[in-house]
């Protein structure tokens, strides 16, 4: 069972307390109606799915309830670091 560091609680805790929430740094467009079908499709469905370093969102759902971002290696399943939502991509 992976240990995950919650940047809000500043505690490293078992993954049972957390829920995965998809790729990080995909901001909802400010004016969705102004987007072309292709751009909207890109926002909705297209994801990086990298082999290796992946910026992704987690929620400390059974803790503080906050969403935060993490860098996890999809090959080794190791967390490189976690950081607060709103901080720039790391």
């Amino acid at each position: 069972m992976i240990l995950i560091h919650c940047p809000y609680c500043d505690e490293t805790l078992p993954e049972l307390e957390f829920a995965y929430a998809g790729e990080a740094h995909i901001a909802r467009p400010l004016d969705p109606s102004g987007l072309s079908d292709e751009d909207w499709e890109r926002y909705l469905f297209i994801r990086a799915n990298p082999r290796g370093r992946h910026n992704e969102r987690w929620r400390h759902v059974h803790g503080c309830g906050r969403f935060f971002n993490a860098v996890r290696d999809t090959v080794t399943d190791k967390f490189e670091l976690t950081y607060k939502a709103g901080e720039p991509r790391k």
């Binding site: 069972m1 992976i2 240990l3 829920a19 929430a21 901001a27 909802r28 004016d31 969705p32 109606s33 987007l35 079908d37 909207w40 499709e41 909705l44 969102r57 929620r59 759902v61 309830g65 906050r66 969403f67 080794t76 399943d77 939502a85 709103g86």
Partner: protein, 953 residues
Amino acid sequence: MSAYRLDGMGRVNRGAPVNFTFDGKSYQGFAGDSLASALLANGVSLFGRSFKYHRPRGLLGAGAEEPNALVSVDRGGGRYTPNLRAPAVELYEGLNARSQNRWPSLQTDFGSINDRLGRFFPAGFYNKTFMWPRSFWEKLYEPSIRRMAGLGDAPTEADPDTYSACYAYCDVLIVGAGPAGIDAALEACAARKHVILIDENDELGGGALADPALAAWLETSLRDLANAPNVTLLRRTTALGYYHDNFIGAVERLTDHLAQPGHGAREQLWRIRAGEVVLAQGAIERPLVFEGNDVPGVMLASAARTYLFRFGVAVGRNVAVMAVHDSGWKDALAMAKAGVRIAAIIDLRETVAAALVDEAKALGIRTELGSAVIGVAGRQAVKGIEVSRADGSMRQKLACDAVLMAGGWTPSVHLWSHSLGKLAWSDDWGAYLPDVPNENCRCVGACGGKWSFGSGLNIGALPSPRDPATFKAFVDFQNDVTAKDIALAVREGMKSVEHIKRYTTNGMATDQGKTSNLNALQLASSALDRPVQAIGLTTFRPPYTPQTFGALAGHAKDALFQPVRKTGIDPWAEEHGAVFELVAQWRRARYFPKAGEDMHAAVNRECLAVREGVGIFDASTLGKIEVVGPDAAEFLNRMYTNPWKQLEPGRCRYGLLLREDGFITDDGVSARMAPDRFHLTTTTGGAARVLNMMEDYLQTEWPDLNVWLTSTTEQYAVIALQGPKARDVIAPLVAGIDLSPEAFPHMAVREGTICGVPTRLFRVSFTGELGFEINVPAAYGRHVWEAVWAAGQAHGITPYGTETMHVLRAEKGFIIVGQDTDGTVTPFDAGLDWAVGKKKPDFVGKRSMARPDIVASGRKQLVGLLTDDPSVVLEEGAQIVLDPNQPVPMKMVGHVTSSYWSATLGRSIAMALVAGGFDRMGETIYVPMPGKTLTAKVVKPMFYDAEGSRLNG
């Protein structure tokens, strides 16, 4: 084979005899014996029949690696466990064990005909033979194969035992309490670390238990560890898996070794998080591959050594040793010095360390260098062997009653591999050794390649003058894979070890190839003429040895399988004879049958009671979220499809929630309690999902909004009172609220008291009747319910359950998200475009409603269905076609989502998703069912009181 107990040898307690039975026959052993050692001591050599060929099999090993001697232990009362390894079964008074995979008896087994037909069962024979006709597979092939090939029988009774689980934390976790593990524990203990030392055996000591020279050291060391406050010793505990971040799963067996299982848990699952993991799992000796290497009495040299020095059992009276490794000589010499007669030591090597040869000669042991065993006489027990020089010359027969194999050592890297630690090939060991760790982990002793057993040869199979295609030399004993199977797999094009494994099933038995993987690799390497490293190694996966489902399930079975959520009113429902169903994790009253009523009769009565009088329904499970803050209305406006900003305090609105892809995900009626406060409701099953989704948008997309979300699902009991007499029932109970239709219209909310309890009283209806939903603090739920119940007696109040609720809402065409929608239904598809705020610039899912696929024609749309025969109730989920005469497979255009008998209407009603359904009003559609085709007309999904006049009572 004629094994016997030697006086004065071993650690068993000769003063404590233990009686047990095997296949119904009584035997006696001693306290400290395993089932294997006790049977051996009684001269038993035949332990089981093999998986595929039903060949007689005896013991190969003395520990976790044992592939052959699998037994079933029946303790009575449902306590039955198949496929236990006899060396791992501790003896206790009254133990009742049975052999497996034989009929009618172990000695006479009709299935052994498979052995004679062996040429019809080569590697991959399942894939080749049973391909055609396909229909024969399920009825004929598979049952026959299952009957003939197999392990023990599955239990037929429910397991009466309980299982527990715990978490543990330590600085250093050591797996394996052999000399290396004990040394590591002593060292960590001295460093004041918190240590857990676990071992799968009943006695700690590992290899030291079979080495009298280490007995004194072992006793002192174990006493020191047992007395140390910072050390936890766990015996009978198998580390089954090594998971991320030094998390180890282990199962401790608590009662299987006791004559009386008692009342406590049978096993305990340990979940251990360790700062450092030290693996001291040791190494497993490799068998040698030659004709007859599976005859009972042919076993590992190290196993024979263990049986002698730990249990005081000599495995034979005249023991031959076939070695390609020095360790075989050492075992033979130690056994000879202890009084066991060694018939000969045969070694494939031309030269062996002079010290070993000289000592053998000094002990009068015959040695045959540069030679190999090429055959074994005897079927159910070894009677002798045939030996030749490596080139096939000088064939000679030799009498013996046991053959010991010393094929070198395979470090037990199973847990290391679970942790994704890297392995490196070692020519010295002829095996893979731990290399680069992936966790804070190190290997000590033999499992790390840091223990010297001497040197030896790395070979796949012993040479034989006979054509290898004409005999069976076993590689994987448990799955009956022979050397020629490996050769065949290579001949048929398998190059990777993963393919060879799956084609031959080598290493796929319950022992995961503990004794077979390396020999198979060497054979494949020779056949392919490529180095072993180029062929790879199959991946070890948890569990290290088979574990019970009970240990893994723990408390999570039967009533505790998952938590059951109950409302405060639930006990009342139970007292009044409700039949319950599970909705998400909630237990909800489905209907309240009176004496003699079935569900149909009860639901009909409940439906009519609501339509004609008044019904009471526990709606407490509705998801509830309190949305508070100056931006609350703005937030809801962005989340829901409909406009919220203009909603006045005291009013309610039906809210429709989409995902960003435009599909309906939830709905519910919500109320504005104050300018900055909303009381949201969600579906029962969607509460957590909706809150998570709202938190996501609030935290990550719109953190500038000043809004707080709080789950209040369990804070309120909700009593739905529905029917024309609803107002009359609550009128005397309510204070501070004007209930008149003018002051309190449909879709309004008021705060006041009911029976003195503060309430948020909603005037809403999921039935189409005049209705109220009484929200009170959960602790008062039953009190208010009973007060309403009492007040309703004069009005014929009737309790109803979820089934009636479903029928009543379907009569009105109200959808249930997740039943009438399936995650691909838009508001337009569901006929809910009236609930979409067309003028809103944005809300979650709005842009997607203009996606090309969603504006395309031919989408499935929610319609009503009326069967031509009003007495026929369609099956929910039934498929719909337009032309019943088309050939199969037919083009399906939709399915029935909701279907009920409506007592109110005196006929059946249904809702369905049908392609282009809105344009098919009045058309006939067809529902093919087994043996008949039903017909129905497409109608609007509104079957009762279309104008809504009944809402006003």
